[in-house]
Structures are given as structure tokens and as C-alpha cells.
């Protein structure tokens, strides 16, 4: 059982007994792991407080094949969460993305793109105040990392181009827009063309600061899509929603 060395983003923490802590980590090479840190001795206490949500850390851990939980031997800060605590919107934003990534991945799931995506978001949250359109933009990026990127370009069902009409049909279930033919068999909600175009440009990486209308629709699309594909609640979203 060799000692694993890795980088990780701390997703969640939970106290365990008097001095131990159980954390969920998204590691660069090992993917998502749950690990226990024993805080009994002086040298162990030293790294306990690096195991705080949103920290980017270097860790050393043991993981037995037969055990579900890894055991953390050492941890060091690479980049601390400092800056996220400065206002409510920052911590709600950081929590939302971390919770989202956590709830959409399985134990042991590896995803370097997601690691980097999360890391980028946490760095940005510390330095800029996210607008509502930033949140939609980054959410699409995370969905992309997870392989859940909605298709805003061609019919998600048959692959044909969707005619340039005022209204475009979006299926939560299939995760994309529908052509008129396919829309006869699959439930959808229709949205103004400009909204779908805007989201499609977000997917390509073009940031635009949409107007209020755009954001309301974009939020509606994303919320519907996510709630369809995720059967657990994102607890931090209800708080974040009050702030955006």
C-alpha cells in the first residue's frame, strides 16, 4: 500500500469524534475521494486546518483497496480559501460550484478537466465579484467538464439543423434543442431564439453580459436541466439565488 501524493480541492468537511475529521476531496490524479484525518497528535493537528472547504492542498494519503476511506498522512496549503469569506455572495458562489461538482461525481471518479475547472472558479471567486451571467458561464463550463454540456446548436435528437425561428424548443430531458419534427414526440419548453444563441456563445467561450431577460431565461433553462438530471437538491443554490 504505497503512499499516494496528490493535489486536491477540499469539497466538504465533517467533524468525526473529538479530534478527527472526514473530508471529501477532488484530487488531481485520483479523482474524488473520501478521507479521514486523525487530529490526535501535535504533528497531525498541524495539517488539520488545511482541510477546510475550497482550499487547494497538497496531500499524502494511504488508500487500501478494501477500505472505502483513505487516511490522510499529511497535507499542505497550495492556495488557501482566503478571500472567499469576504462576502456572502462569494461563499455562496464557491459553495454552489463545489456542491455541484460533488453531487455530480461518484467516489473514485477521475476528471482532470473538472479539477482544473473548479480550481479556476475558486481562484476567480476570490478576485472578482461574479455577475449572474458569470455564474451561468461557469456553470456551462462545469457541465462541459462533466460531459453534460447541453446542445444549443443542432437538434439533440436527430442532429439536424434547427430552422431559424423566433422560438426555439429546448428539451430538459435530452439536454438540448429540438427540431420541429422531433419536438412532436419529446416534451420541451420554448425559448426566444436570442436566449439560445446567447447560451451557445457562452459554450464557445464568448462572455457577454446578458440583460435581465436573458438571465431569467438562462436561469430557467439551466435550473430545469439540472433538476431533471440531478435527483438531489443543491443546498447552496437557494441561498445563491437570493443574491443574483
Amino acid at each position: 500500500m504505497p503512499l499516494q501524493k496528490d493535489e486536491a480541492i477540499v469539497l466538504t468537511k465533517k467533524a468525526y469524534g473529538e479530534s478527527d475529521r472526514i473530508v471529501r476531496l477532488f484530487t488531481l490524479s485520483g479523482g474524488k475521494i473520501t478521507a479521514i484525518a486523525k487530529g490526535g497528535s501535535k504533528s497531525q493537528k498541524r495539517f488539520m486546518n488545511t482541510l477546510e472547504p475550497f482550499n487547494h492542498i497538497r496531500i499524502e494519503y494511504f488508500k487500501k483497496q478494501t477500505k472505502t476511506m483513505a487516511r490522510i498522512e499529511n497535507a499542505d496549503i497550495i492556495e488557501s480559501n482566503s478571500g472567499i469569506e469576504l462576502n456572502l455572495k462569494r461563499i455562496c458562489t464557491a459553495s454552489f460550484f463545489v456542491e455541484f461538482a460533488d453531487k455530480l461525481t461518484k467516489e473514485g471518479e477521475r476528471n482532470i478537466e473538472l479539477f482544473n475547472g473548479l480550481k479556476g472558479i475558486l481562484d476567480d471567486v476570490k478576485n472578482i465579484e461574479f455577475t449572474s451571467s458569470d455564474i451561468v458561464f461557469y456553470l456551462l463550463r462545469i457541465l462541459g467538464c462533466l460531459g453534460f454540456m447541453p446542445n444549443f446548436n443542432t437538434c439533440v435528437q436527430c442532429g439536424r439543423d434547427v430552422p431559424d425561428e423566433d422560438k426555439v424548443f429546448f428539451s430538459r430531458e435530452r439536454g438540448g434543442i429540438l427540431c420541429p419534427v422531433c419536438s412532436q414526440a419529446i416534451p420541451f419548453k420554448s425559448y426566444p431564439r436570442g436566449i439560445i444563441r446567447g447560451l451557445s456563445s457562452f459554450v464557445r467561450g464568448d462572455r457577454c453580459n446578458g440583460d435581465l431577460d436573458f438571465l431569467t431565461y438562462a436561469q430557467d433553462i439551466m435550473e430545469g436541466f439540472i433538476s431533471f438530471h440531478l435527483d438531489v437538491e443543491i443546498k447552496s443554490y437557494k441561498l445563491l439565488k437570493n443574491l443574483i
Binding site: T50, I77, S80, E85, L86, I91, F96, E99, S236
Partner: protein, 198 residues
């Protein structure tokens, strides 16, 4: 094989306590089964008492039997300063170091969006009202120095912007009797930033 229903029920109820598994619960259940009648009635009375008699102080949200609580009614304590803490147990720790000195405000939690806990879920708004009403001069924010405690501290200072109250935060650094060798880099940084003239 199950025990008779009353024993089984007791075991199941004991298992709901933190850190108690079936084995310990069974051991406790049999201890209780073999105990004196008088101990059992005293134990059950103290269990119902904590729900019947204990409530939150309407001023500071401390656990109390009478409202306002003993601390809030204590005239010796500083009228100008409030210590803001997360939990009643944290208040007890400060109280042990500074007996009869401060008044407190107990938040009953911290802002923790990952658990869905926002400012409205803890007693923060009540703190703001209280500061105005009691004309408090200083609040010492003694929440834990972690991401949730720090967020809560910043939020408190944010909502009190424009009021006259002085807002202070407890210091973070190397614990007395501690060792630099066993100190993490964030704590070292904090202790250097908060250094004092000798």
C-alpha cells in the same frame, strides 16, 4: 433474534445518540434494565425536563430555565460589550476564562452555504436589533477561525456598517504552550500579521 419489544425500542432509541452503535446501546439498555427504580425515574425526569424547562433566552439566545437568563440579568457584567459566539458551549469556555465579565449573543450556528445555512437561519438579525436597542459600544466576534466562522464575522461587520459599534475579532495565532514546528503556514502568517510590540 430480537429482544422483547420494550428492550428493543430502548436499544433503537439509544442508538440515535451520537457515537452509540448497537453493541453499546445493548449494553446500556441492560444496565438500565438492572438499575434501581429510583435511578430510572430520575433519569427519565431529567430527560423530559430538558425539553419542558429549557428554552432560549429572548435576549441572548442562551439556554435557560428563566427568561431573561441568569447572565443577561447579572448587573455586574459590562453593559457596553457583547461577545458573539457560535454555540452555548463556546460561551461557557469564554465565561470560564472571564467569569461574570461579558454579556453574550449566541448565534446558534454559522453561515455555511454547503449545508444550506444562510444568515436568516441563525440569530444574526436579532444581534443587529439588539446592538441598537441596548446601545452596545463593542462586539467581540468570537466565532471559530475557519471559513464558516470567518464568513459569519465578515457578514456581521457588513450589516453593521454605518453603525457606531466597534467590531473586534478574536486574534488567531500560535497557541500558548504551542510549538512553531507544529504550526501550519496560515497560522504562522496570521501570527506574524497580528504581531505585537514588545
Amino acid at each position: 433474534m430480537y429482544y422483547p419489544e420494550p428492550i428493543e425500542n430502548l436499544i433503537i432509541n439509544l442508538m440515535k445518540l451520537p457515537g452509540i452503535g448497537r453493541k453499546t446501546a445493548t449494553r446500556l439498555a441492560f444496565f438500565l434494565l438492572n438499575s434501581d427504580e429510583s435511578y430510572i425515574s430520575e433519569l427519565s425526569r431529567s430527560l423530559t425536563d430538558i425539553k419542558d424547562k429549557i428554552r432560549l433566552c429572548s435576549v441572548c439566545y442562551n439556554l435557560t430555565e428563566k427568561d431573561p437568563c441568569q447572565i443577561c440579568s447579572d448587573e455586574r457584567r459590562d453593559r457596553d460589550t457583547l461577545c458573539v459566539v457560535e454555540e452555548p458551549s463556546h460561551m461557557m469556555v469564554i465565561e470560564a476564562s472571564y467569569p461574570n465579565r461579558y454579556r453574550y449573543h449566541i448565534l446558534h450556528g454559522v453561515i455555511n452555504p454547503l449545508d444550506g445555512i444562510g444568515p436568516d437561519d441563525i440569530h444574526i438579525n436579532e444581534l443587529k436589533l439588539r446592538i441598537e436597542k441596548e446601545n452596545i459600544k463593542e462586539i467581540i466576534v468570537a466565532t471559530n477561525p475557519n471559513i464558516e466562522g470567518n464568513t459569519t464575522a465578515h457578514y456581521i461587520s457588513e450589516i453593521l456598517k454605518g453603525s457606531q459599534v466597534r467590531i473586534t475579532r478574536i486574534a488567531f495565532g500560535i497557541p500558548i504552550g504551542g510549538d512553531i514546528i507544529y504550526t501550519d503556514s496560515q497560522t504562522i502568517k496570521s501570527s506574524i500579521e497580528n504581531r505585537k510590540d514588545l
